[in-house]
C-alpha cells in the first residue's frame, strides 16, 4: 500500500508535510563518517558466536547506518532542512526451529552479544507456539564482498545551498509559468548495510536513492476553482548526477504534450511545464464518462502495476500473513498451480527484479544475503511465480530464494518485500505516437494521481496528472475529472499493445508501507507506454455547498 501518511505533499487541501524521520538529527558533515569494515566484521562475529553458544542453529546480523537528508521548499522559501542518522544492530536467529529477533542501538560487543542472546530466548519462547519449524532455502556463503549503487556524484558531498537553490529555481519557474503556488522537495537516502550470517557471508553494501517531488497549484479566485499538477519524474537509485539532465534523458510524450525524463532530470524545465499545465487544467474539459481505450504512459502505469501486479504476487499476502493490514490476494496458490490462470493477455510479461540499474530496488544482496536476481512472475499472460524469501521458497517448489527480504531499519526484522516488478517491452516496434494512431476514442494519461485498490487486489480506481482526449488517432484537448476503474484481471486481459523497449522506463514508489508495525520500502516499476481497450472511465467532478 502506498502510504499516504508518510508523505502528504500539495494534495491541494493538505498542506502539512509529514516526513518519516528515523534516528537523530545531525550536522551535514557527519554524514560522511563511515564505520570501519573490520569493526563491523568483529561486531558481527561477536553476535554470531553469542547466538550459537546460546543454542541458535542459524544467525544473521545486520549492522545498519541509515542517513537521510530532506529539504523542503515552498514558493521562494526553504522551509526545512533535516539530516538524520540511525545506527544500530539487528540480530535474527533460528533456535528450536523458530525465529527470534532483537536489536540494539549500542555498537559495543557486550550489547550486541546481549541482543543475540535475547533473540535466542525469544526464538525459544516462540517455538512453543510454532507448529512447523522454519525452513530456509539454501544460500551459499559468499565470504567478504561489497556492493554499492553505481553513482557518479554522492548527494552527501553536494552543498545544501546548491540543492536548495535548485529547488527554489524550480519553484520560480513554475510560478512564472502560471502556478499560484509551488512546492519542491528533495529526499536523499544512503543506507550503509552490513550483513553477516552463519552461512559464511560478510556483505557490505552502500545504497543510494533520490526523489525530488514537486507540485504546482493554480488558483482561479474568480471562480473559486483550484487544480494541481504534481511532478512527473521518478525517484531513482542513482547519485546526484541524476539532476544533470542531458538531451538523451528527455523523452517527448505522445503528441508532444510534455517532456518526460529517463535517467536524468531537468527539474526546472519540468516545473515550468507543471506551472503551465496546472493553469491549463483550470479550463480543461470535464470528461464524458464511459468506455475508452486508454493509452497509459509509464509515469501513470507504474503505480497501477505496483498495486495490481506487485502486491497480489507477494507470497506472504497470498498465504495470509498480511490479512489484518494490507490484506490477502486473489492470486491464490491453486491459480498458480494450475499454470492456466490468465492474469493478462498473451503479450503481458512481468518479471521480479532486484538488479535493474538506476532502480529503487537494486541491491547486490537482499537482507538475507541472497544475491540479487531476475525471474518471471507473469509469462505470456499466465501467473507462473511469486515473490519469495528463504523461508517461503519451499512452499512454491523453488530451490532458492528470490532475494525479496528487506527491513527498513536495523531495528526492524526483515520480511518479504516487493522487488522491482516490471512489464516487459512489446516485441513489435511501436512508439507512443504510432500507438495513438490506431485509437478511435481514447484518453492518454500521464502522471500518478489518486489510487485505491481493494484488499485482495481485484477492484481498483486510478487517476493521473494529465489527461488528453484521443479522437480518430489524434491527441486532442486536455481533459479533467478523469479516473479509470477496473478489475485487475479484466484490465490486464484488455492490454492490446505495448510499446517497444525504446519507450521502457521506470517509475517508482519511495514510501511503500507494509507490515505491523509498518515498515517502508522503495521500489521501481518499469514499463513502456501501454494500451488497454474499453476501460471504464468515471467523471469525478462534484459540487458541494
Amino acid at each position: 500500500m502506498e502510504r499516504r501518511t508518510f508523505l502528504k505533499i500539495g494534495a491541494g487541501t493538505a498542506g502539512a508535510l509529514l516526513v518519516p524521520v528515523f534516528g537523530n538529527a545531525i550536522a551535514a558533515e557527519e554524514l560522511l563518517n563511515p564505520l570501519a569494515l573490520s569493526f563491523k566484521k568483529s561486531l558481527a562475529d561477536t553476535a554470531m558466536d553469542a547466538a550459537k553458544k546460546a543454542g541458535a542453529t542459524y544467525c544473521d546480523v545486520r549492522i545498519g547506518r541509515y542517513l537521510n537528508q530532506y529539504i523542503t521548499t515552498r514558493d521562494l522559501n526553504v522551509e526545512n532542512v533535516t539530516n538524520t542518522e540511525s545506527t544500530g544492530v539487528g540480530v535474527r536467529v533460528i533456535a528450536a526451529g523458530a525465529y527470534g529477533f532483537a536489536a540494539t542501538n549500542s555498537l559495543s560487543p557486550d550489547a550486541v552479544a546481549g541482543a543475540a542472546r535475547q533473540a535466542v530466548a525469544i526464538a525459544k519462547a516462540n517455538a512453543r507456539l510454532q507448529t512447523e519449524p522454519v525452513r530456509l532455502a539454501p544460500v551459499k556463503g559468499v565470504g567478504e564482498v561489497a556492493w554499492a549503487t553505481p553513482i557518479k556524484r554522492d548527494w552527501r558531498t553536494v552543498p545544501v545551498k546548491d540543492k536548495a537553490d535548485m529547488l527554489i529555481a524550480a519553484n520560480q519557474a513554475g510560478l512564472a509559468a502560471g502556478a499560484s503556488f509551488m512546492t519542491a522537495n528533495l529526499f536523499q537516502v544512503n543506507q550503509q548495510k552490513y550483513f553477516a550470517s552463519t552461512d559464511g557471508s560478510y556483505i557490505d553494501q552502500d545504497i543510494h536513492r533520490l526523489w525530488a517531488p514537486t507540485n504546482a497549484t493554480a488558483v482561479d479566485k474568480a471562480t473559486g476553482k483550484f487544480r494541481s499538477r504534481a511532478g512527473l519524474a521518478p525517484p531513482v537509485g542513482m547519485g546526484y548526477e541524476y539532476f544533470d539532465a542531458r538531451p538523451e534523458h528527455k523523452v517527448r510524450a505522445a503528441g508532444g504534450v510534455t517532456t518526460l525524463y529517463n535517467g536524468g532530470y531537468d527539474i526546472v524545465e519540468e516545473a515550468k511545464n507543471a506551472g503551465r499545465q496546472a493553469r491549463e487544467k483550470l479550463k480543461a474539459k470535464s470528461v464524458d464518462p464511459g468506455k475508452y481505450d486508454l493509452v497509459l504512459a509509464p509515469e501513470n502505469l507504474f503505480l497501477t502495476i505496483h498495486e495490481s501486479v506487485g502486491h497480489p504476487t507477494e507470497l506472504d499476502r497470498v498465504l495470509g500473513y498480511e490479512a489484518n493490514y494490507a490484506g490477502t490476494s486473489f492470486c491464490t496458490l491453486d491459480k498458480w498451480e494450475s499454470r492456466k490462470f490468465n492474469f493478462g493477455s498473451t503479450i503481458v510479461n512481468f518479471t521480479g527484479d532486484k538488479t535493474a540499474p538506476g532502480s529503487l530496488g537494486a541491491v547486490g544482496y537482499d537482507d538475507e544475503g541472497v544475491p540479487a536476481k531476475r525471474w518471471d512472475i507473469i509469462k505470456g499472460g499466465i501467473l507462473v511465480n511469486y515473490q519469495a524469501t528463504r523461508d517461503q521458497a519451499h512452499i512454491i517448489g523453488e530451490q532458492e530464494s528470490h532475494g525479496c527480504s528487506y527491513a527498513d531499519s536495523w531495528s526492524n526484522v526483515q520480511f518479504q518485500r516487493m522487488p522491482n516488478v516490471s512489464l516487459g517491452a512489446g516485441k513489435q516496434k511501436l512508439t507512443p505516437d504510432e500507438m495513438v494512431k490506431d485509437v478511435k476514442k481514447g484518453i492518454y494519461i500521464l502522471g500518478r494521481g489518486s489510487y485505491s485498490i481493494d484488499q485482495q487486489r481485484y477492484n481498483f480506481q486510478f487517476g493521473g496528472q494529465l489527461y488528453y482526449e484521443i479522437r480518430d488517432g489524434k491527441i486532442g484537448q486536455m481533459l479533467e475529472d478523469v479516473a479509470y476503474q477496473s478489475n485487475t484481471q479484466d484490465f490486464w486481459n484488455a492490454c492490446t499493445a505495448i510499446c517497444d523497449e525504446r519507450d521502457w522506463r521506470m517509475g517508482g514508489s519511495f514510501f511503500d508501507g507494509k507490515g505491523q508495525p509498518s515498515q517502508v520500502s522503495a521500489v521501481s516499476h518499469g514499463t513502456p507506454t501501454t494500451r488497454f481497450n474499453g476501460i471504464n472511465v468515471i467523471n469525478t467532478g462534484r459540487k458541494i455547498g
Binding site: 537523530n24 479566485k221 468515471i538 459540487k543
Partner: protein, 445 residues
C-alpha cells in the same frame, strides 16, 4: 529505558536551556516504551518491545533556525546537542516565515495516563492474541491481528518560560477473522487510553460474528443507498475533511472551504444541522496532550463545526500574524456529537439499507470537493425492515464527507476509534446516511 519523572525532565530541560547562546531555545524531552504482538494464520508471527528516549533542541538566531537531537542526558551531551543546533542554525537559510518561540503558556493537565495500560506485559499481549486464536480455532476460523500498547512521556520547555510535562498511555487492537475457505471476513478495532476499557474477548467476538455472518455474500447493484456507517467507516473520511480546516489554504483559495471571489466558507452552513464536531484535549474518552507539540501553544476546546456551520479554522502562527488573529493549537482529537442510540437501534429503524463495518484504502480524488474513493471491507450487510437480511459483496464508493454530513438521517452513540492514516484520537458515532454513493462492486472478501 525508564519513563523519566517530571523532576528529572525539568532538570534536563533547565540544563539544556542554560547552555544556549542563541536568541531563543526550545527543548522537548520525550520517551516511550512500545510493546506489540502480531499474529496470523492462528499463530503468533512476531512480538516486540521498543524503547526510545531523546531530547530535541531547537534554537534560532534571528530568522535562522536549527534543530538537533541526542539520546544521552549528561551535561556534556546536553551542551553538545545545544551547540550542534546552534551550528546548524548559523548555516541555515533565513526563513522569511520564521515565528518566534511562544510566550509562557498555561497548560491544564489532561488525564492521558493509565497505570493499568502502563503495566501491560508480554503475558497480557500473548493472552490477547491467544484468546482471538483459540476462539477462532473453535469456530474453524482463521485469525490475524495486531495488538500494540505504549507508555510515554513528553516534556517541553522554552527560553520564554514555557514548561509542560505529561505522561501518556494507549493501546490499539485490530483483528481480522476469516473463514477457512476465504468466503467470509470480519474485523474489529479497539483503541483506549485506559486498559480497563479494553476487553479482548468482547473485541474478538465481534470480529468472529462478522466473519461467520459474512459468508456467501450476494451482489447488489452499485448505486445510492441509505447506509449505516459504523465509526470505523467514517473516521478516515472525517479526518481527510478536517485537514482542509486550515485558514491559510482557505485564504489562498486551495481548500474546499475557499469560495469564489476569494472568500472563505467560515460561518457558512455547509452541513446538516445535527453535525457538531469539536476538539477537546480534556475529553475523558479521548484525552490528548494539552499543548500542540509543534508550536507549544496551549490547546483549548475548539468547535470546528457547530450546528452544521463551519465555526473555526486552524491558524498557524505565521498566518495568524498576517491576518491579525490569534494562532491556534492543532487539534489532537476529534469528537462528534451523537445520541444514546446503539447501532442496533439505527438498524431497527431502517427500511432498506446497507450496514458498513469499515472503509479502506481511502484516497483523495478531488480536493476541490473532498471527493474520496475507497472500499467497504470485512462485514457489509443488507438491511431490510429493520433487520440484517444477508451479507453483500463489498462496494467501492466515490463520496465526499461534506455530502455525507449533509445527508445524515440519524446519529448513534459515539465510540472511541484511533486513527489509521489520520493522526487523531476520535470519538465518533455510527451514522445513518441517505444516498451514499457506491460506484462499483468488488470481488474482495
Amino acid at each position: 529505558m525508564t519513563i523519566l519523572t517530571q523532576e528529572q525532565t525539568k532538570h534536563i530541560c533547565d540544563r539544556a536551556l542554560s547552555f544556549s547562546k542563541a536568541d531563543e531555545c526550545s527543548v522537548a524531552v520525550t520517551g516511550s516504551r512500545n510493546g506489540n504482538i502480531r499474529f496470523a494464520r492462528n499463530q503468533v508471527s512476531t512480538a516486540g518491545l521498543a524503547d526510545d528516549t531523546s531530547i530535541s533542541v531547537t534554537v534560532a538566531f534571528g530568522k535562522r533556525q536549527g534543530t538537533a537531537v541526542i539520546n544521552e542526558f549528561d551535561d556534556k551531551s546536553l551542551e553538545k546537542v545545544v551547540r550542534r543546533a546552534e551550528d546548524l542554525a548559523r548555516l541555515a537559510p533565513e526563513n522569511p516565515e520564521f515565528m518566534p518561540a511562544v510566550a509562557k503558556q498555561d497548560y491544564k493537565a489532561s488525564q492521558t495516563f493509565s497505570a493499568k495500560t502502563a503495566a501491560i506485559d508480554p503475558d497480557f499481549r500473548a493472552q490477547t492474541a491467544a484468546y482471538a486464536i483459540e476462539a477462532c480455532k473453535k469456530n474453524k476460523l482463521v485469525a490475524a491481528g495486531f495488538f500494540t500498547d505504549g507508555t510515554s512521556f513528553s516534556s517541553v520547555a522554552n527560553s520564554n518560560g514555557v514548561y509542560g510535562h505529561q505522561e501518556q498511555t494507549g493501546l490499539d487492537f485490530t483483528c481480522t477473522v476469516r473463514t477457512e475457505d476465504g468466503r467470509g471476513s470480519g474485523w474489529v478495532k479497539r483503541s483506549a487510553t485506559d486498559a480497563n476499557r479494553f476487553d479482548a474477548r468482547e473485541a474478538a467476538d465481534v470480529a468472529i460474528e462478522k466473519a461467520l455472518r459474512s459468508v456467501d455474500a450476494k451482489a447488489l447493484e452499485p448505486g445510492r443507498y441509505t447506509v449505516i456507517l459504523e465509526p470505523a467507516a467514517t473516521s478516515e473520511l472525517l479526518g481527510y475533511m478536517l485537514f482542509g480546516f486550515d485558514a491559510r489554504q482557505t485564504d489562498e483559495g486551495r481548500s474546499f472551504l475557499s469560495k469564489k471571489g476569494g472568500a472563505s466558507r467560515l460561518g457558512d452552513k455547509l452541513f446538516d444541522q445535527q453535525v457538531n464536531i469539536w476538539a477537546d484535549p480534556w475529553n475523558p474518552d479521548v484525552p490528548v496532550l494539552p499543548w500542540d507539540t509543534d508550536n507549544l501553544i496551549a490547546r483549548k476546546r475548539m468547535d470546528l463545526i457547530k450546528d452544521g456551520r463551519v465555526n473555526a479554522l486552524n491558524y498557524s502562527q505565521y498566518w495568524a500574524r498576517k491576518k491579525g488573529v490569534q494562532p491556534t493549537a492543532t487539534p489532537g482529537n476529534i469528537i462528534m456529537a451523537g445520541t444514546d442510540k446503539s447501532t442496533a437501534e439505527l438498524i431497527a429503524s431502517t427500511k432498506k439499507g446497507v450496514l458498513v463495518t469499515r472503509t479502506w484504502y481511502i484516497r483523495m480524488v478531488d480536493p476541490q470537493s473532498v471527493l474520496l474513493t475507497g472500499l467497504t471491507r470485512d462485514g457489509t450487510f443488507y438491511i431490510e425492515n429493520g433487520k440484517i437480511k444477508y451479507p453483500i459483496k463489498n462496494f467501492r464508493f466515490n463520496e465526499s464527507p461534506v455530502t455525507m454530513l449533509n445527508n445524515i438521517e440519524e446519529i448513534g452513540k459515539p465510540v472511541v476509534i484511533g486513527g489509521d492514516e489520520v493522526p487523531f484520537q476520535m470519538l465518533i458515532p455510527p451514522m445513518k446516511v441517505r444516498d451514499f454513493n457506491f460506484t462499483s462492486l468488488s470481488d474482495a472478501v
